[in-house]
Amino acid sequence: MQHPSTEQVWDWLSAVPDPEIPVISLTDLGIIRDVEWQGDTLVVTVTPTYSGCPATSIINLDIETALREKGIEKLALKRQLSPAWTTDWLSDEGKRKLEAYGIAPPRPAGGPDHCPRCGSGHVEKVSQFGSTPCKAAWRCKDCLEPFDYFKCI
């Protein structure tokens, strides 16, 4: 039997949502580092976002579930720590989806330049940390809404 191509597997993985921020997929997040066949075993290499992120084990489970549903029988998930995950790997599509969802995407300048809800440039930091390890809490001084900012690391 012919293996599904690695392109096909990437395509399947691009439909698996992040468990914490379901608006973006695992491939948008940039945490799938490699997909390859080693003999008849499919090896998927995944890097964690934050070392203690509780979503990491759920992500592995979701990858396994998604690929088993597509008929993949021999699957190995490999953890890769280096190079360490960076928000530079977040796809442009992923950044656009975050913004549309109300989460300001990461910016190398260290903070958002506008509110993802009303677009105002008058924003201030509430806390360097937020509801998940990957986010910080910000607030818009015009529409007064609090919003999440995806930390740049």
């Binding site: 964690p48 203690g52 720590l81 360490a84 360097q128 940390f129 809490a137 690391i153």
Partner: protein
Amino acid sequence: MTRDEALFEYLLRLGDNTLILGHRVSEWCGHAPVLEEDIALANTALDLIGQTQLWLGLAGEVEGKGRDADKLAFLRDAWDFRNVLLVEMPNGDFGRTLMRQFLFDAFHSILLGKLMKSSDPRVAEIAEKASKEVSYHLERSAGTVVGLGDGTEESHARMQAALEYLWPYVGEMFTGDAVDAEMAAAGVASDPASLRADYDALVGRVLGDATLAIPDSPFAHKGGKTGTMHTEHLGHLLTQMQWLQRAYPGASW
């Protein structure tokens, strides 16, 4: 002491520092003065526990006796822990917690920067991952120490008292022994004493901005990282942290 025995000890020190501090910081969960600080502390604790899984996981692998990170965390008694005394100190008030965090974060960030160049790639890759998280911790703890130190009369007094209480626990982080010498000889890690100049520069600058005076006594409590003598606080912490696995061995979610 073989090189692997020294490496095992060294990894326990790294993992126990993050484990014990992570547990201490998590004690604030639901108790911090404001919601944002509560979340910040919980997130810091989470990063530290995550790093613990990596360090103690590797320690178990190096030891080769079938102990994983969970077994090392939950089934050792106080005398087998190798964390520095600083991280087992009780939280005290919010100011003392943040001062302890700053004094450790400053050391941790400098240490991880060196470990990223370790001759052992397994150590280097964990350090690379942890370093990103720790530079974020340091930014926050340094900022908060300055905000509270150079704040009101009361916050200043509390931060000065916290610094005086914790300063005698700083020296231990830079005291080397045979394990450190073996790691330095193997190129795995640097001699801890060699980190001190960078530390003094960083801590001196931040505490200066915070208008706090560093105590001039060089006295340092020791015994945590070698396991010779922990403070009584560690045992109390372990009774809580290890309770579930002691009462119900092997219990899992």
